[in-house]
């Protein structure tokens, strides 16, 4: 440029780049993808944060495709899940949790409406073949994930149609049968050989399966009701909750009593209570050992049923007797006419073990026409008695694998420690991963990201605006028939709004904060997502390690590490 810069201390632009301030650093910032609490908490293994990010940008198909890498049935779980993701959601500690559950349904419904298909996988005829028994959520999930991983799958179902409890135990006001049908049709069309009317122990044996398949997954559920009696007394005309519900789902009618007491605190109890109420039973009581979930109620003391269902039941007129147990059945002949109830609570004994204690002097009478136990189901031992032994459920490891039976897996309700559709979906997926790992003869543990979720304290909440969670439309109580779906879906705008509200815990939001706030211009924005998943790189030639970027990263994605 012909300019003498020695004159009067002139300097050329940007020449400070010659000076390496990176040598000042004793700590360096680094990107650390920590798990979002919603991801860690999802029984099905969904990374909600990842697909919410796509929803915000209205990339719905990609969001759905991300979602179905974990859960093939979002239109179903988006209706029936108890959504622990929302309980875990860090946003709950700020204003209100993201309505992840509703957005999941939004995506599931959109996929059905648009006819989106699962990714096509070419399965060679020589691929190992896996038998999946039971086409409930666990079996369907296992079959789907195995098929997606290139295995041939045969899915055995005792009934003529797939779905298991999805069709038989969840009332249509929660889960319309059309949704179940559509989701399962797509799933079964995905390279799975569906074998309806094939019952274990009747049409084939476990041994035959084990002999002709590379691995077997038992998603048989719990088909048998628990024995129920009070001091040995059982009413003659005892109806069991789940059977009653199944009957109503199949036939569409239910006995019209004047008053009913349902004993139990799970989803069956609530579903049945609501069905009875909606069918016109004037008085429906639920007798629960536990309390209605709410603030101050510890998890172990809360009714296991989904809170939303409990609330809607109460709204519809169901009466819930919390912390109450049945002390005595009042029988007239063998006919129930009432119950003697007593206040009960689980308290720790001298050894610290929890024990149910009835409080003397709190007894009361409840006169009802019918008492229905809904205290749970156990595995039907037909054809698998040897496997079950004296137990009510299968005993398997985290991956669903039976001890001493390396090629045999199970999941879902049959495990006994599960109770929800989402958990069953997760079990099916995890078993598929384990089967894949086993058949590939890979060494070590089944690979899965098990990271500790990032706590709220590690986020910088200054960068988030308070914004309310969207409300969905509910059918008026007066208009509820039991068959029409009560909850509507989110609007387009509500769904993307939830994407915006997402904190993106532990993951790069691409918000530009680190790039904008670096006093040393040592953070550079990349055009595409960088190798480590972020949209920025640190230029360690200049970064002095002040830590501002880490401190001001809204989502806790940057950590400072000591220089070594």
């Amino acid at each position: 440029m012909g300019v003498k810069i020695t004159r009067g201390s002139f300097a050329r632009p940007g020449t400070s780049l010659q000076f390496d301030t990176g040598s000042w650093r004793v700590q360096r910032p680094d990107h650390l993808h920590a798990a979002a609490p919603c991801h860690s908490a999802c029984p099905a293994g969904e990374d909600a944060q990842a697909w919410l990010a796509l929803v915000e940008e209205e990339r719905f198909r990609e969001a759905w495709e991300n979602l179905i890498t974990a859960n093939p049935l979002p239109a179903i779980t988006g209706r029936v899940c108890h959504h622990p993701c929302e309980t875990a959601c860090n946003r709950g500690g700020y204003d209100e949790a993201i309505a992840i559950h509703h957005v999941e349904r939004f995506l599931g419904d959109m996929a059905l409406q648009e006819g989106w298909a699962y990714p096509q996988v070419q399965v060679p005829d020589t691929a190992p073949e896996i038998a999946v028994v039971g086409s409930g959520p666990a079996g369907c999930s296992a079959a789907y994930h195995l098929a997606q991983r290139g295995y041939r799958v045969q899915l055995f179902e005792a009934l003529p149609v797939a779905g298991g409890l999805l069709r038989s135990a969840i009332p249509p006001y929660r889960l319309p049968s059309k949704v179940v049908e559509n989701e399962l049709d797509r799933l079964l069309a995905n390279g799975i050989r569906f074998m309806p009317g094939q019952r274990l122990g009747r049409d084939f044996s476990l041994e035959e399966l084990q002999a002709s398949f590379s691995a077997v997954f038992l998603g048989v559920g719990t088909q048998r009701s628990r024995e129920w009696s009070i001091d040995g007394a059982t009413p003659r005309d005892l109806h069991v909750g789940l059977s009653l519900l199944k009957e109503w789902m199949d036939v569409g009618v239910i006995p019209c009593w004047s008053s009913v007491a349902i004993v139990g605190a799970g989803n069956t109890a609530i579903d049945l209570a609501r069905v009875l109420k909606l069918a016109g039973v004037p008085e429906v009581h639920i007798i629960s050992h536990k309390a209605i979930p709410g603030p101050g109620v510890p998890a172990q003391d809360a009714m296991p049923a989904i809170l939303r269902e409990i609330e809607q039941g109460l709204e519809e007129g169901v009466t819930i007797h919390e912390h109450r147990g049945v002390q005595r059945l009042i029988l007239r002949g063998e006919q129930v006419v009432g119950l003697e109830l007593v206040h009960m609570k689980k308290l720790a004994d001298a050894n610290g073990r929890l024990k149910r204690v009835a409080f003397e002097g709190t007894e009361s009478m409840l006169h009802v026409e019918q008492v229905i136990p809904a205290i749970g189901q156990v595995v039907d031992p037909d054809g698998i008695r040897a496997l079950l032994g004296q137990r009510s459920y299968f005993r398997v490891d985290d991956w669903g694998q039976f001890p001493d039976q390396p090629k045999l897996f199970s999941g879902g309700d049959a495990r006994g420690d599960r109770g929800t559709v989402s958990e069953a979906v997760g079990d099916g997926r995890r078993a598929a991963l384990a089967i894949d790992h086993m058949l590939r003869e890979e060494a070590g543990e089944v690979p899965e990201n098990k990271t500790t979720p990032i706590p709220l304290e590690q986020l910088n909440l200054n960068y988030y605006e308070p914004a309310p969670r969207p409300e969905v439309q509910l059918l008026d109580v007066a208009k509820r028939s039991g068959f029409d779906e009560i909850e509507s879906g989110l609007t387009h705008k509500q769904a993307t709004g939830e994407g915006q509200r997402c904190f993106s815990c532990g993951n790069c939001l691409a918000c530009d904060n680190c790039w904008t706030l670096c006093p040393d211009v040592a953070v550079l924005k990349t055009q595409d997502v960088a190798a480590d998943g972020s949209h920025y790189v640190f230029d360690y030639g200049y970064c002095k390690g002040c830590g501002l970027c880490a401190r001001e990263c809204p989502s806790g994605y940057i950590v400072m590490r000591d220089e070594v």
Partner: protein, 390 residues
Amino acid sequence: MQHALEGSQAIARAVSLCRPQVVSAYPITPQTHIVENLSKLVADGVLECELVSVESEFSAASVALGAVAAGSRAYTASSSQGILLMSEVLFNIAGLRIPLVLTCANRAVSAPLSIWNDQQDSMAVRDAGWIQLYCADNQEAIDTTIQAFRIAEQCELPVMVCVDGFTLTHTLEVLDLPDQQQVDEFLPAFSFARRLDPANPLSVGTLVSPEYFTETRQDHHQALLDATAAIVQAQSDWLAISGRDTGGLLRCEGPDDAATGILTLGSIAGTLQEAIEEQGDAAPARLITLRAFRPFPEQALRDACQGLERLIVLERALSPGAGGIVGTEVRAALGVMDNPPQIFNFAVGLGGRDVPLEIYTHLLDAIAKGRGTGFDILDLDTGKLPAETS
């Protein structure tokens, strides 16, 4: 073309002919008439420029500095306290090698307060790194102002044109004012390679560590030394256009064989010249009028003093506790001559005291009495002071 003009008016017209783009101004006597006249030229549409009437001399110098740095020809003027208030900026301007022209309407520096002429102000900033040119009369003020812009821009150094306050600035006389065409022929359009420019965004005024400072200073010093050539060149080029000799580094008048020389700077020269002429052959003397004080023209000075037996240095400022400023430098410069003249050094005309025509005879009397061999104030009259009462 000849005009009867007041000095300040003539300087303003000369500045205007140089087409400055930015003029910053702050009032101080006796400089005020210059910027008043410039303001009038702008108001009358004769001069098209940004006239910035600032709130202090410090800002006047700073505005001019900013303007030149941003690529415009700029001008400002001041006196006395104003020069000192801007002194920090003056050093800065020079150190940044900013080509700026400033007129110093020389005035004494307070305290005691005096609004009248001497040259203490410009002498106080002689080490600021500026070129300093002293004018003997208003014609020289016109011609020097025009030359100053070219010298400044050629050398990338600021030029201070020193004009005796009142004695020149407030004196109306007959002056030759060049026309625009002559000035345009002499002075190219302003250009400054290191100007601030978004297309080539230089950083100006950086921090310079001990590692580089000395070299930067040397570069500046050398630039001032080299400026002597530019001063001489500007003078001869302007002579060719205007027909007037402005004196180059210094002006020498009087008989070649004179044994006595008198060296001075500024407006005393005219009075001295007439005084010497009045003496005729009785007391011939060579009059040396120093025009360039910075750079200090050592060689030209030695050449001018060849053959002198004695040289009287007459100046309008002093360095209290040391003596003459110019005198000291002249002694140093002539000390290396084979036969240096004996040097006498006087200050005269401080704080506006009239320097009468009798100055020459007074000087001769004084040196005859042995005064001035070191340094003396010539026109001292302590007898008139009221007696101190305690």
